[in-house]
């Protein structure tokens, strides 16, 4: 019994590595997915803000300086940009 007991303890469990790999990778994949989505958002948002800035500057407007809503001031609105959704967890 003592010998058998010793053998059981020293033998690796069957598929232990695969199970460890499976569980660990699921966690790592989920974390990496979120990070890459943030990484993707960072680049996308960085470029898109610049594009939107240029587009708004060149938008056609009512050529009347007193037309507040549709006039030239619309082109130079300081709050011209709305950030894109990050979608780090879901919502591709």
């Amino acid at each position: 019994m003592a010998l058998k007991h010793t053998k059981v303890r020293t033998q690796p469990k069957k598929a232990q590595i695969i199970l460890e790999f499976l569980f660990s990778m699921i966690i790592v994949f989920v974390m990496m997915f979120g990070l890459f989505m943030i990484f993707r958002w960072v680049g996308y948002e960085f470029g898109w803000r610049r594009v939107e800035h240029d587009q708004r500057m060149l938008n056609s407007v009512v050529e009347d300086y007193r037309a507040l809503d549709q006039g030239p001031i619309e082109q130079i609105d300081p709050y011209f940009h709305k950030p894109a959704k990050m979608n780090a967890a879901w919502g591709l």
Partner: protein, 494 residues
């Protein structure tokens, strides 16, 4: 034995490797994301500052701001060249237990011009047309004037000055007076004040005088005096380089050319150039930008006075043409006077702050207070597990506090726009373009009552900008376990 040892060592090797390399990968990507977020803030700041400057110039010159106090539908000239400084102390991207705690500054500076009021003349005491620069610090808007009106008395004796006046030129420099200025045909020769302006060395400037012109300069104003840059009586530019030097002083006498013209030759200016206050389609006004207070900076003479300023916007002796007083726009008299300072001045201040005042503008000092005593600004909460009546399993980590970020702005002059003594100014005729961001005026801005408020130190002319930035972050899980089976442990009564 060897196989046993190997098997033991390989236990959880994959998981360990994944954990190690995954951690490194996540750490590296996290650093990249953190840096990218900083660039995001900077890009956002730059674009927003540019648009803010253009918007300010547009709205002010188009008459959208301030109503009648801001110049009415004609608009004003205060932001013809709008200059904006936008500063925000933003939380940096971090993953702490209570979210990000550290802040990084994002600062942007931009200028914008809308040309509608480009040539709008500034009349006497039209303070809404004085140029301004705008600071936006963590959401607080500080419009600072960069010029002010000033009436300068130009008479030989102080007792001859009109009332009221701000400065008598004789106070500033005892050598301001030219005794032999105007010949009016009868002795004695009239005296007048000596003013100065500078001209640049270019082919279009007919008044330029240097050795290439033969060295004989007009208006009895010699080469040596023209190149006496600090006006201390000695020539500062060697003769060999005077032909190529960038600029020179010329003397402007406080003498009215219109009066001379009306005298039909009865008045002769003996030295320097006169001042032509009025112009026509054929003749431009002359010498309206002159140094009237001997500070080596030119001031702009105000010509128009539609509302009848007291004293008159300028006073001219009708017999001699001598100008006795002028109102000027002085770029040294605003809230901020950025002329004449460089980075070395700040180093001098840092080396000995007790004896050297800081140069004007936004100071580099920054401080952040987070108050933790009862009833004040910091609350980090980790809640208990149970409440009365119902049973919950809770996990709450919550941050709810106010960061007080302190910035300091040194003013050049106390123009009375922010504070009148210890009273905060709220006059809508002064604060037509924003509300006064100063909350308290005091000699002690670090008292318990003032420490969290934007405070104007009336002695040192420093505005302590205290931005109270609320910072809430946290998470909470609540599971109602009231209906779960439980054993009511009742302690039996003794």
């Amino acid at each position: 034995m060897m196989p046993k040892i190997k098997r033991t060592l390989t236990k959880a090797q994959t998981a360990t490797e994944l954990a190690v390399f995954g951690t490194i990968l996540i750490f590296v990507i996290g650093i990249i994301v953190q840096q990218a977020m900083s660039f995001h803030h900077l890009q956002n700041q730059n674009l927003r500052t540019l648009r803010l400057a253009m918007t300010l110039s547009y709205r002010h010159s188009s008459g959208f701001v301030g109503g009648a106090a801001g110049g009415g539908p004609a608009g004003n000239a205060s932001r013809n060249f709008a200059s904006v400084l936008l500063l925000e102390d933003r939380l940096s991207a971090d993953a702490g237990k209570y979210g990000a705690l550290s802040r990084a500054q994002a600062i942007g500076n931009a200028a914008g011009t809308h040309s509608r009021n480009y040539f709008l003349p500034t009349n006497a005491n039209e303070t809404w047309n004085l140029p301004r620069t705008d600071f936006f610090i963590n959401g607080k808007h500080f419009p600072f004037t960069t010029a002010g009106f000033k009436t300068v008395c130009l008479t030989g004796a102080k007792s001859d000055c009109p009332t009221p006046y701000d400065v008598w030129l004789g106070d500033l420099d005892p050598n301001f007076w030219e005794a032999n200025c105007v010949d009016d045909g009868s002795p004695p020769i009239e005296g007048c004040a000596r003013l100065y302006t500078f001209i640049s060395n270019n082919s279009k400037e007919a008044r330029w005088c240097s050795p290439r012109n033969g060295g004989s300069c007009p208006n009895s104003w010699s080469l040596s005096e023209r190149f006496d840059l600090d006006r201390d009586g000695s020539t500062d530019v060697p003769g060999g380089i005077q032909d190529d030097f960038a600029w020179q002083w010329i003397l402007v006498s406080a003498f009215d050319i219109d009066t001379q013209t009306a005298s039909n030759g009865g008045l002769t200016l003996l030295i320097g150039e006169g001042i032509l206050l009025t112009g026509s389609e054929d003749v431009d006004p002359q010498n309206l930008s002159v140094d009237v207070d001997k500070d080596f900076y030119e001031e702009s003479i105000v010509r128009n006075d539609p509302t009848g300023a007291i004293p008159d916007v300028y006073i001219i002796d009708p017999d001699t043409g001598v100008i006795r007083s002028v109102m000027v726009i002085d770029s040294n008299e605003g809230d901020l006077d950025m002329g004449g300072y460089d980075t070395n001045d700040y180093q001098v201040y840092l080396a000995n702050p007790q004896n050297n005042p800081p140069p004007p503008g936004l100071m580099k000092d920054v401080a952040m207070f987070t108050r933790v005593s009862t009833g004040t600004y910091l609350e980090i909460r980790e809640r208990g597990l149970y409440t009365t009546g119902q049973q919950f399993v809770r996990s709450v980590q919550r941050k709810d506090h106010v960061d007080v970020v302190q910035r300091m702005i040194k003013l050049s002059n106390d123009t009375g726009r922010f504070c009148n003594g210890t009273s905060r100014v709220t006059d809508p005729n002064i604060w037509w373009d924003a509300s006064n961001p100063v909350e308290v005026c005091a000699s002690e801005c670090f008292s318990p009552a003032n420490i969290s408020r934007t405070c104007f130190d009336i002695d040192d002319l420093i505005i302590f900008v205290r931005s109270r930035v609320q910072d809430t972050f946290g998470h909470q899980w609540v599971t109602d376990t009231t209906s779960d089976d439980y054993i009511n442990f009742v302690v039996p009564s003794p």
